[in-house]
Symmetry: C2
Subunit: 267 residues, 2 copies
């Protein structure tokens, strides 16, 4: 397929190369300033443009079906969907990768063929993710669009599932709890260790072991630690050690209570 | 060495077999009711006893040096250390595996040779952990005791470090943030997904990818998600979706603010 990429950030740096490797042609890469688009377009044998308007030559007036995938922050997507559809024409198949934006953003922007292409992983620019095992959740306005989205998705991932916008919203919320919040817990751990001259790498066997366990049991089943054991003395001591970090002390208390509601009741 | 194990729970089920494989003789295994001790002793070619008093025949009156490792909940250790030392005599080398209990618990209980043997991982009964790559943090009352503790530790782990009680307390607190709290975050994710008929396994690529990243960057560096991006619309929408779960809504807000203090300020 002929694909136009809008956005050249973390998602695009993994998705772009995967699409190219699957044999699709990346007609153009757009980013706000054009800088990151230029860097990515170089890797994809593609053309970089700055902003949306210079995409006019790639509009779908010829009748040749093409796909536009936007990989933008949610609020940027909502603010620019109208301009994108106006520029590329109503017959392009519009897809976005934002977990929390409903498919209707495209209908409201005047598109006729549209859908969602949501990769269920976390991207960062410096570590491109291999897409083959990333679950891709897709949705489309019609059976015809869906067939095209499924073909595109299956060309880069072995784990493609249909999911409507409502289900995807909960999936994204669940992903914040499964990925972003554990990352912050570990960052707090890192900051505590650094104060004592210990590097976070000492925690890696623990962290990897915990994830390995999830092959055999659910997070609920694998919960351990002082809160799960109801070990009040350790909990109270840890709270004292966090006296200088009131935000972390509050988090410690609330998460411990969420693990075991019978502990640390208020006086 | 000749080793007596007190406690036959999650830690003992990994540590006991590792000690036996390293060539140490497990003289006895004690547990409160004797039931779990019997199960573990069977695997270790050892003898099970119920409680502390029946360990009298294993006391160190003969002058033969032996090691007693307690793997007890912190409060149970504090409550029974005196009885243990009284039963096994002052010349036994007493070690405990509790991250949050200072070494002095043994001095106060009347022991002459003592130390700490803290494995930095999370244990569960159903998934015995291979000890070889588990960091072991050790401490001892004297150079003589330390030599014995180091010998024992190095016989089962390739990652043995000395650390005093104060450092170990922070290590344990940091481990709660690195391991127990991420587990709870994922359990909340699991509970949210289950309401929508989705199994947590859909999150595993995301979770594994996040841990793989920690080989190259620290948790602080690898933070992603709506809070890190400052994506207020998604944050507010997620908070609305959690309206029926006020505890999780509060956690969502506090952790997001901890990731990015500039967002979600109170009205």
């Amino acid at each position: 397929m002929e694909v136009i990429l809008i956005g050249a950030g973390n998602v695009a740096c993994s998705l772009g190369p995967a699409l190219k490797e699957a044999g699709h042609r990346i007609a153009a890469v757009s980013s706000r300033t054009g800088l990151s688009a230029r860097e990515l377009a170089g890797k994809l044998d593609s053309v970089a443009v700055e902003g949306i308007r210079p995409l006019v030559p790639f509009s779908n007036g010829s009748g040749q079906p093409s796909v536009c995938i936007t990989m933008l922050a949610d609020d940027v997507l909502k603010a620019t969907a109208g301009e994108i559809v106006e520029t590329l024409g109503p017959d392009t198949l519009y897809l976005h990768t934002a977990g929390s934006v409903a498919m209707d953003v495209w209908r409201d922007a005047g598109a006729c063929r549209y859908g969602v292409f949501y990769p269920m992983t976390s991207f960062s620019r410096n570590c491109p993710v291999s897409m083959r095992h990333v679950p891709l959740f897709v949705e489309a306005d019609s059976d015809g669009s869906l067939a095209a989205v499924l073909e595109l998705a299956r060309s880069i991932s072995d784990s493609v599932k249909e999911l409507d916008s409502q289900g995807r919203l909960f999936l994204h919320l669940a992903a914040v709890f499964a990925n972003n919040f554990p990352c912050r817990m570990m960052a707090i751990s890192q900051l505590l260790l650094e104060r004592h001259g210990i590097g976070f790498e000492v925690m890696l066997p623990l962290v990897k072991g915990a994830v390995d366990k999830l092959e055999h049991m659910t997070p609920l089943e694998s919960q351990t630690g002082p809160a799960a054991r109801g070990d009040i003395q350790v909990l109270e001591h840890h709270m004292e050690m966090l006296a200088g970090d009131p935000e972390w002390q509050t988090l410690y208390k609330l998460i411990s209570k969420d693990i075991n509601p019978n502990i640390l009741t208020d006086d």
